[in-house]
Amino acid sequence: MKKKLMSVLLAGAMVASLVACGSTTDTTTTSDNTQTQTETTTTETPAADTTATASSVEPVRLLNGKPEINDQMQALAAKYQEETGNVLTVETIGGDTNASDELKKMYQADNMPDIFVIEANQAATWDGMLADLSGEDWTNKTGFELVDASMGTIGFPYTVEATALGYNADLLAKAGVDPASLTSPDAWKAACETLDAKKDELGITAVFGWCAEPTNLGWSSGTHVFGQYLDAGLKADDTTYIDLLNDGGKIDEARMKKFAEFIGMMNQYSDPALLIDGTYDNQVAGFKEGKYVFITQGNWCVTSPDDVSFECGFAPYAFEDGINTIIAGPPSYWVAYSAGNVDGAKAFFNWCAGDSAQNILVNDAGLVSPFDDCQYEAVNPFYKSMNSYITAGNYSGWHTMLKKDGLQNSTCNVFADYAKGKLDADKFVSTMAQVIADYYAQ
């Protein structure tokens, strides 16, 4: 009898624990409801004591892909609640976790945020699932929104980034080189020779801080530098070479040849210690210390005026005569999930394009505003130069973001082999053509 009692007790304990587990899974599966409820209650309280605008808009979840501005995004959410009474929940994905990969998991788990970050070529993956934002107020204030052929205006630009050859203006002035003259291969060659001859006088290690190391910096050569082949010298909406590329991986060999010669010049005048096995940190540190005159990065590499003691600017990759553009535009966008809270997302975007949000994004987060009416000047040391190109209309698009996913991992190796001297300019072109065609054929 005692044994039976024990077994009943044990069974009871097991059942109880099972039920306990069951109830926890239960709350997680229905968390959509409970969460919404709790969050609306928190919404009402501040709305009641700040303004009379009763918030009819439900809370909005935003997935931020830039971990470095997480704090500022939280401040933005607080400001949004303070001003409008609406709730914005910011979740940040950072470090090595890739936002698009995480989003897939969220989608499978039926846990999609209302606003999330995508790169331009990922729009196709989400075909039919992103809300059309055309006609919203903010679209009149910027030319940088992402427009998709089938879904309409889908992307809200939250920042503008630029890439070209960043230069140290003080060193150029000392050597007597005018950066405005660097719009042809011959001018570049002459400038490189002058700078190289005055190495000791200027106290520099090399003319270029260019790193073609593929393992950790493949994104730099394979996406950004390669992007110059696609876009340099073209107007922002000119898609000639990206269309050619996406048509089964074709390249313009004549243009690629000139590009290859320009890269060859960069290889020749680059710091050998950096070129083949350097790191991003060494590259940027070398530029900040004035060891290199040019750097092959964008405005993200020097974000604060305190980092540098000299003036920064951008010069174009002038591998053909007359190329005078830098690549500028939003590298990624915020989009609204059409099955999510679209009204809430639209309301947030309109607020975000306004003054108080731009204040936080520009002055605190150090981003460059894509909006025409933004009154804040970015603190970024490259901003002045960047802005002069944008206002003059001399900027090209980030069409490199539209190439097939993962192509940069193949092309960056060709840059590395070229840097090592395994390939010459002609071989660079033919190898590039073969690698790209193979990748598109897969």
Binding site: T215, D277, C412, N413, V414
Partner: protein, 349 residues
């Protein structure tokens, strides 16, 4: 005649039926996403009721099997949910055009034919086999020599054992980044050339070196255990008979630890096949090589990393899944052979 009371029979059948109904209703509500908060409780309650009914089921003949099933159920359930169902789904996905988000159509064996047309993937397979062969030999050799060292009568034995084992406790990613620094900043100071990691051939050697450094200590421990089980009287007898050190090693020690060698060989074999983290952190698969007449950009990319890159970086989940199925088949064959051989040996012993 009946050994069971009416009451027990009634309780059993009612619980069984009510349990099944509740569980199905709960499941149905979950699938229909009606948002009914009690659906989870319904499902769990139903399952519990079903098991109570099963436990009380009026049978003497099958009672023992029912109890066995009830006790095994939690484990079987977990195994189903975490291994069997994902495996079946995974194989299913490999026949579709799944992109990680949606599945638009079933493409049959297109992914399988496509993957064998990729020189880069064939190269990955070849490289993985090369890596496995090199590692199986080198790791075992180094580990055995270390084990001999650590069973000899040198001073500071404990320190040596711990020091050789320590790298195994560091995660592969961390290790990869440490060695990346060593190869590109320390080794280059001596050689004066660029980093070993920038050339495919030397990068492959670098991965092998790091892998041996990480894994030899672990295998060494197994060899030490093996060497310590050799009976002292055998060694003593051989010493009295005048065997020198080489003779003792080749004629006494090696034959005596043959089962250990088998175990270690298979351990290195399977773990080398699954090499991922060091590969990812050290070279991320980069490096160029001429293979089958074309320039390939993933010169140091092994199978596991190739699958990861295909799915996550190149955004081709279905193709990655097809490659993973092949990977599973290869590993399954290796494991079955391993089990066969070790079973045979145990019988012989």
């Amino acid at each position: 005649m009946s050994t069971f009371s009416i009451g027990r029979k009634a309780v059993s059948f009612i619980s069984l039926i009510a349990g099944i109904v509740l569980a199905i209703a709960g499941l149905g509500l979950s699938i229909a996403k009606t948002g009914n908060a009690s659906r989870g409780a319904m499902l769990i309650g139903g399952v519990v009721l079903f098991f109570i009914g099963l436990y009380l089921f009026p049978t003497l003949k099958h009672h023992r099997s029912i109890i066995n099933f009830i006790f095994l159920f939690p484990l079987l359930f977990a195994f189903m949910v975490t291994v069997i169902i994902p495996l079946v789904l995974g194989i299913g996905y490999s026949f579709t055009d799944w992109d990680g988000i949606r599945m638009k159509s079933v493409v049959g064996i297109a992914n399988y034919t496509r993957m064998f047309k990729q020189p880069a993937f064939l190269w990955s397979i070849l490289l993985t086999f090369l890596f496995v062969v090199f590692n199986m030999i080198l790791v075992n050799l180094v580990a055995f020599l270390l084990a001999l060292l650590c069973t000899s009568k040198i001073k500071g034995l404990g320190f040596f054992r711990a020091a050789y084992f320590l790298p195994n406790l560091i995660g592969g990613i961390v290790l990869g980044y440490i060695w990346q620094f060593i190869f590109s900043n320390v080794v280059t100071k001596f050689t004066g050339t660029y980093s070993m990691l920038s050339d495919t051939n030397t990068a492959f050697i670098a991965i092998i070196i790091v892998y041996i450094w990480q894994y030899a200590g672990y295998i060494m421990l197994i060899y030490i255990t093996g060497l310590n089980t050799i009976p002292g009287d055998v060694l003593e007898a051989s010493a009295i008979d005048g065997a020198n050190k080489t003779q003792t090693l080749f004629n006494i020690k090696l034959p005596m630890i043959a089962p250990t060698i088998t175990i270690c060989t298979f351990l290195t074999l399977t773990s080398a096949f699954k090499q991922f983290d060091v590969n990812l952190a050290l070279t991320n698969g980069k490096g160029s090589v001429e293979f089958l007449g074309s320039y390939i950009a993933n010169g140091t990319e092994m199978l596991a990393l190739n699958i990861y890159t295909t799915a996550v970086i190149n955004n081709d989940y279905a193709l990655g899944q097809a490659k993973a199925v092949l990977f599973f088949v290869i590993l399954a064959v290796v494991s079955i052979v391993q089990v066969r051989i070790s079973n045979k040996r145990e019988v012989e012993l």
